[in-house]
Amino acid sequence: MDLGNAASVAYSAPELILIAAAIGIVAADLVVSAKEQLGAVALLACAAALVAAIGLRMPFSERWIVQGLLHGAEGWLWSRMLVVDGFAVFFKLVFALAAFVTIWMSLGSAEVQDGDEGEYYALVLASTVGLFYMASAANLLMAYLSLELVSLTSYVLTGYRRHDRRSGEAALKYLVYGGVASAVMIYGMSWLYGLAGSLEYLKIHDALTHGAADPLTVFVAVVLVLAGFGFKIAAVPFHMWAPDVYEGAPIPVTAFLSVGSKAAGFAILIRLFYPGLSESGEGGAWAPLAGVDWPGLMLVVCMATMTLGNLAALGQRNVKRLLAYSSIAHAGYLLMGFVVLNDTGLRAVLFYLVTYYLMNLGAFVVVMVVANATGREDMDGYRGLAWRGGAVPAVAMAIFLFSLAGIPPLAGFVGKFYLFAAVVEQRFYLLALVGFANTLVALYYYARLVRTMFLDQPRGDEGVVALDAHNAFLLYFLTIPTIALGLYWAPVIALAERSVRFFLG
């Protein structure tokens, strides 16, 4: 049902809060000299957006939050441009949390705190608005606009350190790659529009069901669109930008890109390819429309992404680059849940995104703590970290890395378990074996960093690492759920399961 414009305003509360805060910060930046106050405002705005997003799932008759999370409202917003449904709200929760932690990180980051960071917070909030819309877009036009909003703000954030050549180089590379990907994508979208006669996912779906187009033509259009989406999730062969951008951007921005941007890429990918280009069948199974073999294509992309990401990570000496390749590999793991064409696979993707959010952001927080104290991001800068004042960050990093490697009893293991369970259940045995082999390769480089931190002794030139209360609190905020979710995850998996629900008109 179309909820109408008045209701649309109410359902856009999270986005409106973020937009108002962003504009407010830009204006206040002119008069306020203590910029951390602006950061505090941004932090509050994220928290408010989070609460508002939870509220989205709460019909006014039901005030009990958990109940509301599980039985939310669904419908069209703004003349069928956006939808609100379980799937969208799940992602909005993740984005609000990601922005929250990013801003929290930025407040304790030596790179960002240069005394003139007012507009930085506004940009993060604007980018978050883009992420929110990416989760809701049910129309090619909205999908494109929201994706570009995220991209443009990300280019600026990457180049935020104007006087740092690395930062500038990263921003330029990001811009060039992003521009090309986006051009290819919009070209593909124009094909889809031409074939189906509509920009709306559901109308495209109907047109293709009734044989509006030759499968090969649709396939070409799909491949072109995938260029843009693949760029956002950093899937092979559109991953080239990630290592350079992750290395050059300020660490909180890198963290934000690796979690927020990637999750949003998956949101937009799933919504177009599942309700848009597939048919829902018995028992949570999906079948691709019109004989278009995009699952076969994505299967190859998935295996290539995880393998290339992991193999390239093996040789990295810079921890940010290492985490960049690891995040490429994780895009591959996540795609495993995407290619099995089943609700259990999607559920696993959503759950994995939550665990990935915790452990990847956590790893970047530690990178930031070390960089703050010593200015180093290379592997040697981590030598003997545990034995020179950095015991807490080192232990936290070990927890995050082992979680990324998928070792119980940590959240990452549970996430991987659900992904692999979905793959084995649908009998993709080759994919399962490739995935498992990759897990093994990945353990090697994660364990190597752990080894550097614990088993190697400091040589004295690495500098002392101290942890201030601000960052310590942030570390605990991410570490504790990483362990807790590894021991008991039933509520989160229930939420993920109920969130695999698309509004289909």
């Binding site: 084995v424 259940e425 093994l440 614990f454 995850w489 039933a490 998996i493 229930a494 399961e497």
Partner: protein, 498 residues
């Protein structure tokens, strides 16, 4: 005795939490608290030993609560005759190892906290009756072990630690695949090991064999069976003494225990099909190969490490016999090897603490200056050799008797290899303890009270089980008989009851 297994498993973890809260500047207190945290588990183990019902084949002291309902994952623990011996062995070795670690002076807090976590992991593996839980404990054990070898080990510790970690993890990954396939094959889907018993039969024989092999590789890496054994000499040599004891005494047994619990129980038909090559033949090869490698070693600790490979071969051979003697002998050998190798590693640790090297050629005539030490060493070496009257004799004879009925050729090879075993053990005994004393070691003190406290309990058990093996055989007999029948029946029927 409510939830006794849960208490046994998690009390050490509680101890680890307490240790972490203690101030690092008081290492003495930390060590005592660590020792105290292992004792309740040991005491409960003794009570369990006394109260265990030896007549039934059912799982005892079962605790079962749903953990993750949507995947039918339970917190499900219990013991039967197979696992109780391993639980007892672990509960016994851990206090001794904590005592043996009192000499640690670097990162004391971390060491003992990790050690206690390791104990929880090991006990968890042996009591878990839910495959998922088993897997979690199996992996949980890896992390403390990695750090214990890597931080507190010898000169090549980093290499040894990562090698151990990667080998075991490679095996676990295969186990996870097999576990998922079994889960989705069972109707209704379940991870509960007792309910999965014989369920492997829903697959065609080829798939069953593939699953069996995936699980076998996971467990063979732990045993360690040739050609998956190469991590063992590195890990054993580099690990600190107490950790070598745990590695050889408990971790190796997880391999054979896993085979009995998972491969035998769930895939009986494939077990019978594949046992000859993968267990009997490979086990015999292990016996000979381990003994030959041990003969060639110049490092005392490496010699003991290779002797472990050799002795674990008897376990594999006995398991593959599918006769009551063979399988009982195998499990008894698991227990005996746990005590004897622990004793040997502790003895190596004693001399290493004094001389700071382990070169066999560098010693000689120690009997003259360290009489008590030499006495215990002689007992341990003779026990490892399988001298009648000591524990390993009974288990090795049972294994050979059992195996003779099914694999006579291999049994002849395995029995002949005892000559090699005697060769390297006696030769070492002669080179280290007899002969001319190097004057550098003329003033070496004999074992002190703490070291004696770690050695004597094990020596007493070795002696006692040599005379009265029924203390263990009674525990395991019923369950193993049942398991053996299950394998033979499952294979004869071709399809297990659904």
């Amino acid at each position: 005795m409510d939830h006794v297994l849960t208490w046994m498993t998690f009390l050490p973890l509680l101890g680890a939490a307490v240790v972490l809260c203690l101030p690092s500047r008081r290492p003495g207190l930390i060590k005592r608290v660590a020792l105290l945290s292992t004792l309740p588990t040991f005491a409960l183990g003794v009570r369990l030993f006394a109260a265990f019902d030896r007549a039934t084949t059912a799982y005892q002291y079962v605790d079962r609560t749903p953990w993750i309902a949507s995947y039918a994952i339970d917190y499900f623990v219990g013991v039967d005759g197979v696992s109780i011996t391993m639980v007892l062995l672990t509960a016994l070795l851990c206090p001794l190892c904590v005592l043996a670690s009192f000499g640690i002076d670097k990162g004391v807090k971390g060491y003992f906290a990790l050690f206690l976590m390791l104990e929880t992991g090991m006990l968890g593996v042996f009591v878990a009756l839910d495959f998922f839980l088993f897997y979690v404990f199996w992996e949980v054990m890896l992390l403390p072990m990695y750090f214990l070898i890597g931080v507190w080990g010898g000169p090549r510790r980093e290499y040894a630690a990562i090698k151990f970690f990667l080998y075991t993890f490679a095996g676990s990954v295969l186990m996870l695949v097999a576990m998922l396939v079994l889960y989705f094959g069972a109707a209704p889907h379940t991870f509960a090991i007792p309910e999965l018993a014989g369920r492997g039969a829903v697959f065609d024989p080829r798939t069953q064999q593939l699953l069996w092999l995936a699980l076998f590789v996971a467990f063979a890496i732990k045993i360690p069976a040739f050609p998956f054994h190469t991590w063992l000499p590195d890990a054993h040599v580099e690990a600190p003494t107490a950790i070598s004891v745990i590695l050889a005494g408990v971790l190796l047994k997880m391999g054979t225990y896993g085979l009995l619990r998972i491969n035998y129980g769930i895939l009986p038909a494939a077990t019978l099909d594949l046992a000859f090559w993968s267990l009997a033949a490979l086990g015999t090869f292990n016996i000979v190969y381990g003994a030959l490698c041990a003969l060639a070693q110049t490092d005392l600790k490496k010699l003991v490490a290779y002797s472990s490979i050799s002795h674990m071969g008897y376990v594999m051979l006995g398991m593959a016999a599918f006769t009551p003697q063979g399988i009982n002998g195998a499990v008894l050998q698991m227990f005996n090897h746990g005590t004897i190798t622990a004793l040997l590693f502790l003895l190596v640790g004693v001399i290493y603490d004094r001389a700071h090297h382990r070169e066999i050629a560098g010693f000689g005539g120690l009997a003259g200056v360290m009489p008590v030490y030499t006495g215990v060493a002689a007992l341990a070496f003779f026990a490892a050799m399988g001298l009648p009257g000591l524990s390993a004799f009974i288990s090795e004879v049972l294994v050979l008797l059992g195996a003779w009925q099914r694999h006579p050729g291999l049994t002849i090879v395995a029995a002949s290899a005892i000559v090699l075993t005697a060769g390297y053990l006696l030769w070492t005994l002669q080179r280290v303890w007899l002969g001319r004393l190097d004057e550098r070691y003329a003033a070496l003190p004999d074992v002190d009270a703490r070291e004696l406290a770690t050695l004597l309990p094990l020596a007493a058990i070795v002696l006692a089980l040599g005379v009265y093996p029924h203390a263990v055989l009674d525990l395991i007999g019923a369950s193993l008989g049942h398991l053996n029948e299950l394998v033979r029946a499952g294979a004869a029927a071709g399809v297990a009851p659904r």
